[in-house]
Structure formats: structure tokens, C-alpha cells
Amino acid sequence: MMKSNFFRPLRAKERDIRAVVRFKASSTGWKIFRLFLLLSLCYVVFFPIMFMLSNALRSGLDAVDPTIIWIPKHYTMQNFITVFALLDYPRSFVSTVTISIGSALLQIAVSAMTGYGFAKYKFRFRGVLFALVLFTVVIPQQILVMSLYLKFKFFDMAGFGYLYSLITGQMPNLLDNPLVFFVPSMFGVGLKGGLFIYIFRQFFRGLPNELMSAAKIDGCGHFGIFIKIMLPNAVPAIVSVFLFSVVWHWSEIFYSSVFLSTNQMLSPQLSSLRVQVFRAMTSNTASLMSLFTSESGSIESVIQAGVFLVILPVLLLYLVTQKFFVQGVERTGLVE
């Protein structure tokens, strides 16, 4: 089409006409299609969450009532109360929050530092070292988990463990302790630590070098520049990493189920929730029987109430930070 005068610059009037035509085309059909598409995708995203909420609020009668699709006829909070007790919610919540937020803060500190080093300094083997950072992301946890288990059971790092064993007679055992998450986070190889280093590196590369030079002329040291100048400018990256790290620790079930033998955290308990609810429903113990009243919903209602309780704090955190996050992710340019 019009190949012959393809390269001829358009006259102003022609250009206007074309622009109008294109605008019209995009304004009607496309807009309706886009609206339809986005709404249907919203439905797909929200469906399980709404479904879960609707189920969790149902009493036993409503659970088997086929006329109820979304809105229950008899609201009840009993399912939440039941699962709240079964999950031992307050205790698990506190330990999950401790582990998630503690590790997130440690990871931010170390990966910001490492990312900054990679972004703003030139040294030999920089490329090789950075490739090693990415390598840590690609190796699946499943390969490492068993040797890490043994590592934490008989912990040693640069002779530290042997020193400890000289005093107490045995190697320090980190299992069943939040330290199994804190120690790797502290050294930048925690959960997806390499990815966070990558995000910070990308972000710091985008900050102008003049910031550094100006501070240096004013007599600021290398670490001073990093802490006083660079970190305050990196808030979007910090928020993104914080959110990611908290969320991934929150929903982490692999390491936590191997390293923390008792059910300390919330997410690992979900996998066995069905068994737990079933056992409680059929048990003869008075304390467990009292958890189920005439208002209780079906076993699925209780399970879904549990899932909702587990993801609720993360959802709230996301709602609070989403403004930073959505903007931050875009500006970090997560990728090259």
C-alpha cells in the first residue's frame, strides 16, 4: 500500500487527517475491546480471592445450599475462629513476621551494598563476579537444601564454629532457630538474594555519577556517600525489595519445613491444614470439639478461611506499598 511514496514526508494536512483517522479507530472498537478484556482479566484475578472469602463466611447450611453463588444467607465468623485456633495464629504470626521482616531488612542492607559496589566501581573480575551472583539465583534450592541442613546442624563459617565447639564441646546448631534465615540473608545469599543484588545494581546504575563526585569534593568518604547520598535516593528500589523479600519469606515453605521442624511459620502449616482440620473434626478431645459449633461450615470453608488468614497480612502490606511498588518497579527497570 502506497509503497511508492512511502518515504515522502506527509504534508501537514495529510498528517492531521491520518492522525484523526487513527485516533477514531482506536477510540471506538479498541477501547471497548480493551475494556472487555481488562474486566474479564480482573475477574480471573479476583475470582479465587472473592470465592475464598465467600466460602469462608458460610455456615454449614449454606455450604450445601446450591442456590447460593456468591453471597451467603447466614454469615458466620465461626470458620475464622476455628482456623485461628488450629493454626495457633498469634504465635505463628509473630514468628513469621519476625523471620520475614528481619530477613528483609538484612537483605536490603547487604544487597544494596553489593549492588552499589557492582554499579559504581570498576575493578577486575567485575563481570565474572556478577555472573556468580546470577548463578546463585539459577541454582534451585532443592539441590542445596540437604547440604545446607547439615551445614546448619553443625554450623561452621570460617572457623567460627570450631571456636565455638572448643568452648562448649559441640558445634553450634542453628536448626529450629530464625538464624537459619537471618545468617544467609546477612551475607547476601538468602532467599533470592542474587535477584535483589541485581535490582539494586540496575537502580544504582541509573543514578548519575555527579551525585558521587559532588559529595566527594565536599569531603565525603566512600561509605558516607553510599549511606548519606545513595541510599536516600534509592527509596523505590528499597520498597520493592522489601516487599518482594517479605512476601517470599512469608510464602516460603521449602526451607522452613526442613529447617524449622516445629510448625513455626504460617505457610508450611497450610499444606497439612486439611489433615489437621479433619483430625480436629473427628477427635474426641473436648478442647478440639468445642472449635466446631453448629455454625461451622464445611471442611473446605474452614480451609479457605485459613488460606485467607495467611495471605491477609501480605495483601494489606501490598495495598499499603503498592503505590511505591508499581512506580518503583517501573523505574528500577528490573531488566536491562
Binding site: M113, Q142, A158, E300, V310, V335
Partner: protein
């Protein structure tokens, strides 16, 4: 050379500070990553026993590998299953998330809300919660369908069969529709990557193309597509790794059970290693195939 002896140049001093920033990570990498990795690989060639002062490993050669590859049919089945699932999901996920990224990159009212919605699966979908929820919803729906999908497209399947579509096509379409939930929930990070990539393309390119009178189609293939290709490669890699390491993946569950039930160190580690080699090979093939059409900006 003589002049500089004992003193470092400015550049070398800078480099020292650079290394200083990496010290904590380097310690962690050597002691908490490389060390365990070497132990893990040694483990796959040995028999592990716990002693009261640590653990011992006896070298047994390739026995662990041979046992898993010849005796465990479950592992084999799971492995081929996840490879084939990946093969048909990979193009769908990539194209779909690119399309969505293009749509929510446009200027319209409520686009911040839409972006928030599409990142929501990234927040919620990682881990056990969504796995448990999915099986719970599936158990509850009509007939307690055990297929583990949230949507069912019985009507669509019937219409397609009755209008004479070939069977393979019907099963492909209905399977895709049934898994639309899974697919869309898996696209969060990919959409995010593409969106970041689209926004990093300088608007000057499009302006120049507009002045020359290029159509939207031409702009897409001549500007957007080449400039986004490195990100497409990242997305492909991410999708491969993510779908293999997903908790709902059958092989992952096998490995998990081997660890959880009776701490079979060498068995689970060997399985994971074989699995990782498969992932690595697939990524290598992808890289070889993709390197031809990936365009790098700073390439001379």
C-alpha cells in the same frame, strides 16, 4: 613501575573500595553457597550417614544416578510431563504477557489500578497458599473434579466437537481454557518485566517513525520488537525456571517428599541435580535458538 611501588593509583584505590563493598556477599557466597553446593554434588556420588559429630560420605560412584534413572518410573514420568507442559505453555505465557503489557502500557483511565491488579498474583501466588486454595476450590466444585483446574469449559468443548473440529485441537483449546487461571496467575512477573522494558524504549523512536508516517504495525515490528527482544529472552528463561521450580510441579513434590519423609539426602539431591541439568539444557537450547534474533543496543 618503579614510581608506583608501595602506592596505589587512584583507580586501584577505587577498585579496593569496590571490593570492600562486596566483602559480606563474598563471604556468604564462599561459605553458604559454594561450600554447600560442592557438598551437594559430592553427596550425589556417595552414601550419606549422620554421625554424632557431623556426617560421613562414602563414595559410591554413579549408583545414585543409575538408581533414579532406571528404577524410579514416577520421576521419569513427572520429568517428561513437566517438559511437555512447559513446551506448550511457554509460547502462550510469553505472548499473552507481552500483549497484556502492551495494553496496560497505554494511557487510559485507571491504568494504575490495572497495573496493581496484575501484580497481585506476584504477591499472592508464590508458595503454598494458592496451591492449597486451588485444590480446595476444585474439591468443592460440581462433581469434585479432580483435574485441579478452577474453570471448566464443558460447553465450549461440546460446541467444538459438534462443529467438527479435530480432536487434538479441541483438547488443546479446552485444556488451555481450563488452565487460563493458572496461566494468568503465572504471568505476573513476566508482565512486569515486559512493562519495564516497554517503558525503557525512548519515545523519540516512535516520534521519528510518526513523522515518517509509519503505521502501528510497522512501528511494532521495526521498533518495539527488536528493542524488547533481550527482555523476551529474560522472560523465556524466567518462565522455564519458574515453571520447573513451581511448588505444584510433580517432580518438585517428589523431591520434597524424599526430603520430608525420611531425610533421604542423596536420593533427593540426586533427583534435584538431574532436574537442574534438564533445566540447564533447555535454557541452553533456548539461548542458542534465540541469540540470532536478539538485538542488543550497545552492540558494535
Amino acid at each position: 613501575m618503579k614510581l608506583r611501588r608501595g602506592k596505589l593509583t587512584l583507580e586501584e584505590r577505587e577498585a579496593c573500595y569496590g571490593y570492600l563493598f562486596l566483602v559480606p556477599w563474598a563471604l556468604g557466597f564462599v561459605f553458604l553457597f559454594l561450600g554447600p553446593l560442592v557438598t551437594a554434588i559430592r553427596m550425589t556420588f556417595s552414601k550419606v550417614a549422620i554421625t554424632n559429630k557431623g556426617f560421613s560420605m562414602d563414595f559410591v560412584g554413579l549408583t545414585n544416578y543409575i538408581n533414579i534413572l532406571t528404577k524410579e518410573s514416577d520421576f521419569y514420568k513427572g520429568l517428561t510431563n513437566s517438559v511437555f507442559t512447559l513446551l506448550y505453555q511457554l509460547p502462550i505465557i510469553t505472548i499473552f504477557s507481552f500483549f497484556i503489557a502492551v495494553v496496560i502500557n497505554q494511557k487510559f483511565r485507571g491504568r494504575y489500578f490495572m497495573r496493581m491488579v496484575f501484580f497481585l498474583p506476584v504477591i499472592v501466588a508464590s508458595g503454598a497458599a494458592i496451591d492449597v486454595l486451588k485444590s480446595s476450590i476444585a474439591a468443592q466444585q460440581l462433581g469434585g473434579s479432580s483435574s485441579g483446574t478452577i474453570y471448566n469449559s464443558i460447553a465450549l468443548t461440546q460446541i467444538m466437537i459438534e462443529s467438527g473440529f479435530p480432536n487434538e485441537m479441541v483438547s488443546f483449546v479446552s485444556r488451555t481454557v481450563n488452565q487460563s487461571f493458572d496461566l494468568i496467575w503465572k504471568c505476573g512477573i513476566q508482565i512486569l518485566l515486559f512493562l519495564a522494558g516497554l517503558q525503557s524504549i525512548a519515545p523519540q523512536y516512535y516520534e521519528a517513525a510518526d513523522v515518517e508516517g509509519a503505521t502501528g504495525w510497522e512501528k511494532f515490528w521495526k521498533i518495539t520488537f527488536p528493542l524488547i527482544s533481550p527482555i523476551t529472552l529474560t522472560v523465556l528463561f524466567y518462565t522455564v525456571v519458574d515453571s520447573f521450580l513451581d511448588f505444584s510441579n510433580y517432580v518438585m513434590k517428589l523431591i520434597y517428599w524424599a526430603q520430608g519423609q525420611n531425610l533421604q539426602f542423596e536420593r533427593s539431591t540426586t533427583m534435584a541435580t538431574i532436574y537442574f541439568i534438564v533445566i540447564f539444557v533447555i535454557c541452553g537450547i533456548l539461548l542458542a535458538a534465540a541469540s540470532r534474533w536478539v538485538f542488543y543496543h550497545d552492540e558494535k
